[in-house]
């Protein structure tokens, strides 16, 4: 057994775990944060993407012990003070999700992209999310959602595809 101590979304988590425990299972089952999903067993789908010290990482392909002492961010940490993150807002406004299963991983990748490139081209967005599979949306609205978030973060005016509720 091994000690793992990490921060997830700013909160400390500490547990005695098997050295072989996958990070995604640490997050989902030890920390109880089930927003991070598992969609494959070959590091292909990106449903498990979280930020490890700011870097988008497939948590199904890391052991929990490898990130000991690390700073993790998951979908549950995106909302701040009851305000959705611009990426969350973009996905809602532009209908960037359907079943929602790929969405947390997709959004974490988008957050990391916009942090290093605040004004990506559509092609750069597509390249950034090419390790995240979505079976529902056909990606067009995901690209729009991320562009919406980028514009919002740059302080530009934004309008989404959706009408807001009356």
């Amino acid at each position: 057994m091994a000690q793992v101590k990490v921060n997830i979304n700013g909160a400390p988590y500490q547990a005695e775990v098997e050295p072989r425990l996958l990070l995604v299972h640490f997050i989902r089952e030890v920390a109880g944060l089930t927003g991070t999903h598992v969609g494959c067993d070959s590091t292909s789908c990106g449903a498990c993407t979280v930020l490890v010290d700011g870097v988008p990482s497939k948590s199904c392909t890391l052991l929990a012990v490898q990130v000991d002492g690390g700073d993790l961010q998951t979908v549950e940490g995106l909302e701040r003070d009851g305000q959705l993150h611009p990426v969350q807002e973009g996905f809602w406004e532009e209908h960037g999700l359907q079943c929602g299963f790929c969405t947390p991983g997709m959004m974490m990748t988008a957050v990391a992209l916009l942090e290093r490139n605040s004004n990506p081209s559509d092609d750069e967005v597509r390249r950034a999310i090419s390790g995240n599979l979505c079976r529902c949306t056909g990606y067009v609205n995901i690209v729009k959602a991320i562009q919406y978030a980028g514009a919002k973060m740059r302080g530009e005016p934004v309008t989404g595809a959706a009408e807001s509720a009356a």
Binding site: T34, C40, Q88, C99, R126, R127, I129, T137, G138, V140
Partner: protein
């Protein structure tokens, strides 16, 4: 004052999204119950083998392992086999023989996920490999080994099915001036929703109630089947289909894992969770397509189509577990005359067993419409080449004319409505068809390769009318129950089950439109058999045509009562009260009006003597006919002469699904459908080697489209309402998956047609194109 209801036609922001965006969805694997056990499944490495013995002693000796379940254990309880949806039966666990690779062989029940996974490696199975039956054509040879010796008929042939008029068709072919003929293979593919399948089965020994959280698209049907098979009374079974991470038809069947987990919970009295891995999902869960088609299209010399003849061998794998309506072993394949006015057609399909996992399930179209559309749309292009005619012109010449609807097809379907020329003209204009043809000619002269592909498909959805449509005898109606609360908000419960389609929003919009209540004040619930009215579930684009209709009609029943309440409140005769602009008013006097909220309050506080209190209704809707959405798709491809790669430059989809509830959601459905149409056209296929080993068993080899291969889809629409649906809608979820593959294949063939290419099987891989280029000296090294 009229309320802002945001009913039909509004792009309402989805009501389900707040939880998904925050990582607070409730998927099956998110559920953790006290005392929960975990199950893992040992699978067969062989496609065909006898099992001579299973020794689980080493696994059972491991700390944390509670049980190992084998076929012999299930057999003792009469549960080693279960019925399929197609009147066949399927092994839950094998007693003495495995019939496909990755078939379930034994299951471990343990206290932890990792222990269960360890333990399956400690089970010793003594296999005696047998010759597998891999090729469905050779399977029909009398000398072939038998896949299913358990059946009375000692053959691999499952059934023969045909539709249309053989004699008339053959006669037209004899007289025809031109006949185009192609062999068309539509490969085996897999839906691969990003969430795999799984369940948590929880049997409560005290009250004898079994609750199963399951990744299912059809919870009510599952409850009935589980009750019939297990003998547990139906009121003691509750199936909950929580948030589902994509379905596309792959979550309609009953998989052995669900049954074994349930048995394990019954035996241990503890909740048992089973979640399959991606490789298990991809290797063993049901597959789609796998149709070997020979199609012929006969025409006059001027291009007037006369007749279509189609013969098909359908590879169903080892169990016929297709999820079709009972009377249609080949689904709705006989829609294959498509959008064209033909005098006769004859379609034959032969279902065959092979040593592969069950086929014939779904890939965002379960009823074989994709196969039908691919066949006819490819044949139209093949005929155009023979006639040296533009494929758009040939289509326009042969479309069923708008004035002929309702139209009786040569295979017996009654198309409800359509306007095919309008859709194609719109697509051609918007994409600049004539300019593209000019560009192509210029490029061809320079040795560059581009192609333009058209698909003008007709879909058939909304199963279905009870006189013809049932699954295991259960009629394919669907349902809705609406209750309006005293303060003017409502709950809508439906018999269908969303897997991403946005039912919590769209069904609220239908109810809002019909009731005059704001969308924001309506909750939609589904997927819990203890609370939702009975329905057959969501697949085959049936939710809006069936449960959507039920919602409108239940709301109209409420309006009937509402009218009486309004008359009472307005002190008018009911005959003088009318429903205008989402409220009741005295005829011709908008100043004397009552909203549905007023009516609701009165229904509980001030209802007239002699009237029941409350305001609710339920409807079970039996559609009078299917609906027939359609579309005109145009795809432009460029071919890389250095690699043979096909690049989709533009893809325009003009869809017609009748009246639209939420345009934003419909567009999203089309984007997703197009992507799942492109996938089998260019990327995805499941193949087996001679030993029956699957060659694409993980996401490393089975290529789902990423954002890199997927083009920026362009969409547009025409609107031809369904005349028989209560609000003129038709259904749209699968249109694009059905319509897109032939548009892409036709574009590639078009790019190569001057080299003599008339057909290419999908998926069209770069090497296939490169080979053609090489043969004609066009490849760039």
């Amino acid at each position: 004052m009229a309320v802002a209801v945001q009913g039909m036609g509004h792009s309402v922001k989805r009501k389900e999204d707040p939880r998904f965006l925050r990582g607070k969805g409730n998927y099956v694997d998110d559920l953790k119950l006290p005392g929960m056990l975990y199950m893992d499944i040992l699978r067969s490495p062989y496609a065909h083998a006898n099992i001579k013995g299973i020794d689980a002693s080493r696994a059972l000796a491991m700390p944390g392992v509670l049980a190992v379940v084998t076929g012999k254990d299930l057999d003792a309880a009469g549960l080693a086999w279960m019925p399929t949806l197609m009147s066949d039966k399927q092994m839950v666990l094998p007693v003495d023989r495995v019939v496909y690779q990755a078939q379930e062989v034994a299951a471990v029940i343990a206290t932890e996920r990792y222990i269960a996974a360890d333990a399956i490696t400690q089970i010793d199975v003594d296999y005696e490999p047998l010759t597998p039956v891999v090729d469905p054509i050779r399977a029909l040879d009398p000398s072939s080994p038998l896949v299913r010796p358990d059946r009375e008929n000692k053959t691999n042939h499952i059934w023969h099915w045909e539709a249309g008029d053989k004699e008339a068709t053959d006669r037209l072919f004899e007289q025809a001036a031109v006949v185009a003929k192609e062999d068309i293979y539509i490969p085996r593919i897999h839906v691969c929703s990003i969430e795999t399948c799984g369940c948590v089965a929880s049997f409560d020994r005290i009250n004898g109630k079994l609750t199963i959280w399951m990744t299912t698209q059809a919870p009510h049907a599952i409850r009935t089947v589980f009750s019939l098979v297990s003998g547990i009374p139906e009121h003691k079974i509750r199936v909950i289909s929580p948030d589902i991470g994509g379905g596309f038809g792959g979550k309609v069947p009953v998989y052995p894992g669900y049954v074994i987990a349930t048995v394990a919970s019954l035996q241990t009295g503890r909740p048992v969770k089973w979640i399959e891995d991606r490789s298990e999902n991809l290797q063993a869960d049901s597959f789609a397509r796998d149709y070997h088609i020979t199609a012929e299209l006969a025409a006059d010399a001027d291009g007037t189509m006369k007749a279509l003849r189609v013969k098909t061998v359908a590879d169903h794998g080892a169990f016929d577990a297709a999820a079709n309506p009972s009377k249609f072993p080949a689904g709705l394949f006989s829609i294959c005359t498509g959008s064209y006015d033909m005098q006769a057609a004859h379609v034959e399909v032969d279902g065959v067993y092979t040593n592969k996992p069950p086929g014939g399930v779904a890939y965002r179209c379960s009823f074989r419409v994709t196969e039908a559309v691919h066949a006819v749309e490819r044949m139209v292009d093949s005929l155009a080449l023979k006639l040296e005619m533009d494929p758009a012109e040939l289509r326009l010449k042969n479309f069923i004319p708008p004035e002929k609807f309702p139209y009786k097809s040569a295979t017996g379907w009654e198309y409800d409505s359509g306007n095919y020329p309008a859709a194609l003209h719109k697509a051609m204009e918007r994409i600049g068809y004539q300019d593209l043809r000019r560009e192509q000619a210029e490029k061809r002269a320079r040795g560059e390769l581009m192609g333009i592909g058209i698909s003008t498909f007709t879909e058939i959805v909304g199963a279905g009318p009870s006189h013809t449509f049932d699954i295991l005898g259960i009629k394919m109606f669907d349902s809705c129950e609406i209750r309006i609360h005293p303060t003017g908000s409502a709950i809508v419960r439906i018999g269908v089950q969303t897997q991403g389609q946005g039912h919590e929003t769209t069904f609220a919009q239908i109810a809002a439109e019909e009731l005059g209540l704001p969308v924001a004040n309506i909750t939609v619930e589904h997927g819990d058999t203890d609370t939702a009215p009975y329905g057959l579930g969501t697949y085959a684009s049936r939710s809006t045509p069936t449960a959507g209709a039920a919602t409108a009609i239940a709301a109209r029943k409420i309006r009937e009562k509402g009218k009486l309440l309004a008359a009472h409140l307005l002190e008018a005769s009911p005959d003088d009260v009318e429903w205008v602009d989402h409220q009741f008013q005295v005829k011709g006097d908008p100043s004397r009006a009552k909203t549905m909220a007023d009516i609701a309050f009165a229904a509980y506080t001030n209802h007239p003597q002699g009237m029941e209190a409350g305001l609710e209704a339920v409807d079970y809707y039996d559609p009078p006919n299917l609906t027939f959405p359609f579309g005109a798709y145009i795809c432009v491809v460029d071919i890389d002469r250095g690699t043979g790669e096909v690049k989709i430059r533009r893809f325009l989809a003009v869809d017609d699904c009748g009246n639209i509830i939420n345009p934003m959601i419909v567009e999203g459905q089309i984007h997703g459908g197009l992507t799942m149409g492109m996938a089998p056209a260019l990327l995805e296929e499941i193949t087996y080697d001679e030993a029956g080993n699957i060659r694409q068993g993980t996401f490393m080899d089975y290529l789902l489209p990423t954002a890199m291969e997927t083009p920026a889809w362009e969409t547009d629409k025409t609107c031809t309402p369904s005349p028989h649906h209560p609000f003129g809608a038709k259904g749209v979820g699968e249109s694009a998956t059905v319509g897109a593959p032939p548009a892409i294949a036709n574009a590639v063939v078009d790019a190569l047609s001057h080299l003599g290419v008339t057909h290419m099987d999908i998926p069209i891989k770069p090497w296939m194109v490169y080979k053609v280029l090489e043969e004609h000296g066009l490849a760039q090294p």
